[in-house]
């Protein structure tokens, strides 16, 4: 394991059940040989860290059969994060912060309410991104008023994070302009750089019949391919899912409003009804422990019941 103080992390792992160690370089390759191959041998690497991913909170959704605690679930998630023994370095929200509405004022009200609720998080650094419910009907106009840019980058302890917008164009398109921006950014990164892409929709064709794709996502993946250590975290599909495209790992997160069925498992996609015998089943958040030297990400799924 890494240099990180493990105690808090191990406790977190106990809360959530399964831990997935995900790496853009494979699950079993470890140690100095890998560091050497990646050009990190002998280099000073920042300490490992962890961050929390929350997704698809759909604030404003109403549907008692799907989630009778629609107004309480996000607040509960905030409590869970605030209760973590070791606080994360930062938090990311991978889109669909709010549930869509045609009414511009209601949209803004929902965004304001969401912002107030997540303002209760103890962790001062929170990175937001939009989902199609937030941004597709007005090209991200209201979203940007509340949460800032739709695409941006930030760096943290040796990892380069790229936030991609594949929702403000209602056709689920990243677009030529953003692609050029991405390519220019990647040019500044060494081939062995640790890169994490955060976005809402899957960049690969997970299940296009259900809108689970990005129309020009393959162009994004092509641009990322020359880099050896790329991992993508996204939302949109309201369930945990892991897939590789070449050496690039893609991990989707659960929702904090309602779960959706597995890709193509039913004729028509629809939210999975609330299970009164297991409240909040299928909902959750996750911790992602970045082991920077090994370019690995330990994913710990957490539910809302503390178990």
């Amino acid at each position: 394991m890494s240099e990180m103080d493990r105690r808090g992390f191990i406790k977190l792992a106990g809360l959530g059940g399964g831990i997935v160690f995900a790496s853009s370089l494979g699950l079993t390759t470890l140690g100095s040989a890998l560091e050497y191959a990646n050009g990190y041998a002998g280099k000073k690497v920042e300490k490992d860290f962890y961050f929390v991913q929350l997704s698809d909170t759909h604030w404003g959704f109403s549907g008692p059969k799907v989630n009778p605690d629609a107004e309480g679930t996000l607040k509960k998630a905030v409590q869970v994060v605030n209760g973590l023994e070791e606080q994360p370095d930062f938090i990311v929200f991978t889109g669909d912060l709010t549930h869509t509405t045609d009414d511009v004022q209601v949209r803004k009200d929902r965004m304001a309410q969401f912002r107030d609720i997540v303002g209760q998080l103890k962790v001062p650094t929170v990175h937001f991104m939009a989902g199609e419910h937030d941004a597709s009907l007005d090209r991200g106009d209201a979203y940007q008023q509340f949460f800032g840019k739709l695409n941006y980058t930030f760096d943290h302890k040796g990892v380069h994070f790229i936030v991609l917008d594949n929702v403000s164009d209602p056709g689920a398109i990243v677009g030529e302009s953003q692609l050029n921006w991405l390519k220019a950014d990647l040019k500044q990164q060494k081939p062995e750089a640790r890169i994490v892409v955060l976005t809402h929709r899957p960049l690969f064709d997970l299940y296009p019949d259900w809108d689970w794709a990005t129309r020009d996502g393959s162009a994004v993946i092509d641009a990322l391919m020359p880099h050896k250590n790329v991992t993508v975290f996204y939302g949109h599909i309201h369930q945990e899912h892991h897939q590789m495209t070449g050496h690039i790992a893609h991990h989707s997160a659960k929702s904090l409003m309602f779960p959706l069925p597995a890709p193509g498992s039913v004729p028509k996609k629809a939210p999975i009804p609330w299970d009164a015998s297991a409240p909040y089943k299928g909902l959750g958040l996750r911790n992602i422990e970045a082991e920077v030297r090994q370019a690995r990400y330990g994913i710990t799924e957490l539910n809302l019941n503390g178990g």
């Binding site: 869509t100 045609d102 209602p170 019949d209 809108d211």
Partner: protein, 125 residues
């Protein structure tokens, strides 16, 4: 001599006219069976008709219009997609080359019921 030449020219003209007429008829006959147009309207959050039955091998033109905002039409099984803008019409010609039931959907996010905006094309022998 001159008369014979005239007759030959006249004969040639008649034959040419006949050939041209025949060609024209042929072209007309070829163009006449216009492709059947299937009119589809898109609006929040449905296509009408929702189910369309076609015959394998029969060329058709899908004529899709929007009654409110921008929608998309995506029939992935046949590699067909188009944007459908309000006030505009998308025309897509294609010939189904396989039988079965094939879903189409709106692939431009259009609001809360966007995900319900689907339909089926049934292709029979």
């Amino acid at each position: 001599m001159h008369r014979k030449k005239r007759d030959l020219i006249a004969g040639a003209l008649v034959i040419s006219a006949t050939i041209i007429s025949a060609l024209a008829l042929h072209v007309r006959a070829y163009a006449l069976p216009a492709e059947r147009e299937i009119h589809i309207t898109a609006k929040k959050f449905e296509f009408a008709p929702e189910t369309i039955t076609l015959k394998k091998g029969e060329p058709v033109v899908l004529v899709i219009s929007s009654q409110d905002r921008k929608h998309g039409f995506n029939l992935r099984a046949f590699g067909i997609r188009a944007d459908v803008n309000p006030g505009g019409t998308a025309r897509i010609g294609f010939t189904p080359n396989k039988t079965g039931k094939f879903n189409f959907s709106c692939d431009v996010f259009c609001g809360e019921g966007h995900e319900d905006m689907t339909g089926t094309i049934v292709v029979t022998e």
